[in-house]
């Protein structure tokens, strides 16, 4: 079963621009997580936002969570070519169950 679904599927921007990726999910969550995957590599955890949080920052990353709309967004500011990767949202279906991942957004940052 799929919990999160990212939008858009692919995004291409110029270096220096901001990139926004969205995630919608189906069931109530206690946390939502964002991951990054470079081509042919494993996933790297970026940010975990809990259900009682609305916004969280880490460097150039900003994540928002709207539990009423069952949606989250990941903003990367002042993008760099090195930000080129796939980005996934994930959340547990309930409690301490394993994460369920969306299909990801492929971000291309053009220098």
């Amino acid at each position: 079963s799929q919990q999160g679904e990212e939008d858009p599927q692919a995004l291409s921007i110029q270096e220096g621009e901001n990139a926004t990726m969205n995630c919608s999910y189906k069931t109530s969550i206690n946390n939502l997580q964002w991951y990054r995957q470079n081509s042919g590599r494993g996933l790297v955890h970026l940010i975990l936002i809990r259900s009682n949080e609305r916004e969280k920052h880490s460097g150039r990353l900003r994540v928002t969570l709207d539990t009423s709309k069952k949606s989250s967004s990941l903003l990367i500011t002042a993008s760099r070519a090195a930000d080129t990767a796939s980005y996934f949202c994930a959340s547990p279906l309930s409690g301490n169950t394993p994460l369920v991942f969306g299909k990801g957004t492929r971000l291309s940052v053009i220098a």
Partner: protein
């Protein structure tokens, strides 16, 4: 600090051959362990997870199996590989409490010929 090792990085196997992929975690005790498969350009499909030695939960019925012979060792196996088993296999671990991130290995690219 904790590290996760997954090997081999790439593997080419004929149809019908057996499979054994190994994953080990260092620097933590009693982790939750996971095996995922990722088809090209797709999301992650959870195959198996384990919350303790000998405890395996299977998410997708198929010809793959998993075992956890030691606390920090997770093995993915098959007796006879199918063409459809091709893909990118990822091992991950997380602490055994809620609201924790998962940490991934570098993956194994499996090609079945």
């Amino acid at each position: 600090s904790q590290t996760i090792h997954q090997w081999p990085a790439t593997l080419v196997q004929p149809v019908g051959s057996p499979l054994s992929l190994e994953c080990t975690v260092e620097g933590t005790s009693n982790p939750n362990l996971y095996w995922y498969r990722q088809a090209a350009g797709r999301g992650l499909q959870l195959l198996f997870y384990s919350v303790g030695i000998g405890q395996i939960s299977s998410e997708v019925p198929q010809n793959l199996s998993a075992s956890r012979p030691q606390d920090r060792q997770f093995i993915l196996s098959s007796k006879k590989l199918l063409l459809s088993d091709s893909g990118f296999y990822l091992c991950a671990w997380s602490p055994g409490t809620q609201n924790q991130p998962q940490h991934f290995g570098d993956g194994t690219r499996l090609s079945i010929l």
